[in-house]
């Protein structure tokens, strides 16, 4: 009985806190995306700019680690039984990727464009047997170019 109460409390806590954190994070993401909308982030390896006009080219990167909440994990484990889209993890990946991009943009400062952008994702704590920490990291990196006016 105690087990069940603990389980349900954790579930409620996970849902409440997780939803709150997610909403707050998305608000912040949207805000910052709007603020940095004029810094192009492209996957092209090169851009058609004469070399003498490029004042600097440097590596920029941003990484974000987002944790799974208890509710999402239980929901995903239920999905493990039946199969199908693990919808509860979709928003985590989405947030991690966008946050990583935003941090990369922040690092780029007032660059003109970021080229050759790649995004990579990895799970953290997957191997630590019983104590599954269950976080994921997204990392975005690219080359920030500053062009003379």
């Amino acid at each position: 009985m105690i087990d069940l109460i603990i389980f349900l409390s954790l579930l409620a806590l996970g849902y409440g806190a997780g939803t709150w954190a997610e909403k707050r994070h998305y608000r912040s993401i949207t805000e910052r995306e709007n603020a940095t909308v004029n810094l192009p982030v492209v996957t092209l390896k090169s851009v058609d700019i004469p070399e003498h006009k490029i004042r600097s080219a440097r590596l920029v990167y941003g990484s974000a680690v987002i944790s799974v909440d208890y509710f999402k994990r239980i929901l995903a484990s239920l999905r493990n039984v039946f199969g199908g889209k693990v919808k509860s993890y979709e928003s985590l990946l989405d947030r991690a990727r966008r946050e990583a991009l935003l941090r990369m943009k922040e690092m780029a400062g007032n660059a003109t464009v970021i080229v050759n952008v790649r995004i990579e994702t990895s799970a953290i704590g997957k191997q630590s047997r019983r104590k599954n920490i269950g976080c994921l990291e997204a990392m975005a990196y690219g080359t920030a170019l500053t062009v003379e006016e």
Binding site: M1, D3, Y15, T19, T30, E33, N34, V37, N38, P40, F71, K72, I74, L75, L78, R79, V81, F82, K85, K87, S88, E90, S91, L93, D94
Partner: protein
């Protein structure tokens, strides 16, 4: 054309389904499957049980009733009950069982039919008895459970429940410890129908043995309304249920023309226990 940077406005990477809705569907589905399997296994057990041989039942029962130990303090009572059961069984309730009566000191007003022909009677029940006929009815009711092999059905379902809960919750969960208390397991799963059949069996046995059905229903009506019925006490599980059972027994007695005679006093051993000097 001038390019203007702007956000896409929609997020295609996150499904719009509400997580609580998804949770309800998945958890509900899983629960439905578990319940379905439990019911199906329970049904399978119902089909198998009547074909189980006595030998096998005794072997199976060992695991559950192995810890029933004889208490010296109530040896006389046990003997007296045993002889009453033997007499009932001898003339009127021929069962393919050798019934062994165990008296357990507990306040519960209850008795239980356990696998392997073990009948457990609590001293709390004996304290409520006022006549031999009343006692005989309760004992015959338990014999009725043996006759219909209800106690085995309870056992089978309990085993299924135990297996399921172990798979889902691990070995040391609360459901298992509840079932593990042994006496609970048969009580838990006697259905209304099984109780009614055992009642009918008891009434017939009573008529056959005494030639009348005096005090057959007195036990039910004697339990105080506000009395603690115990957790799974099946003699007085709920009061409306008892009234139904009394009504059913009286109807049956009338229909078959069973006379009401004079109840016999309690056997000496039991009467002595009730009023210690």
């Amino acid at each position: 054309m001038k390019f203007t940077a702007r956000q896409p406005g929609i997020n295609v990477n996150v499904s719009p389904t509400h997580p609580l809705k998804e949770f309800a569907i998945l958890a509900g589905g899983l629960l439905a499957i578990v319940v379905g399997v439990y019911l199906a296994l329970g049904l399978a057990v119902d089909l198998i049980v009547p074909r189980l041989s006595m030998d096998l039942e005794k072997k199976l029962a060992g695991a559950f009733v192995g810890r029933l130990v004889e208490n010296e303090d109530v040896a006389d009572t046990t003997q007296s009950l045993q002889s009453l059961v033997d007499r009932l069984q001898d003339r009127c309730a021929p069962l393919p069982y050798s019934i062994t009566v165990h008296v357990t000191e507990a306040d519960a007003v209850n008795a239980a039919a356990l696998p392997g022909g073990h009948m457990v009677v609590f001293t709390g029940l004996l304290a409520e008895m006022t006549s031999e006929n009343e006692l005989a009815f309760v004992l015959a009711h338990e014999l009725g459970h043996f006759a219909n092999r209800d106690h085995l059905r309870g056992l089978g379902r309990a085993l299924v429940l135990m297996t399921a809960s172990t798979l889902l919750l691990g070995a040391d969960n609360s459901i298992n410890s509840m079932i593990g208390q042994g006496l609970v397991l048969t009580e838990l799963s006697f259905s209304r129908k099984q109780e009614t059949q055992a009642d009918e069996f008891a009434l017939e046995t009573l008529f056959c043995h005494y030639g009348h059905v005096a005090d057959a229903t007195s036990f039910f009506s004697k339990i105080p309304e506000d009395g603690d019925p115990g957790r799974f006490g099946h003699y007085f599980a709920s009061h409306p249920e008892n009234r139904r059972r009394i009504g059913h027994l009286e109807d049956l007695a009338q229909k078959r023309g069973y006379p009401t005679g004079h109840p016999l006093p309690l056997p000496v051993d039991l009467a002595a226990d009730k009023n210690p000097p």
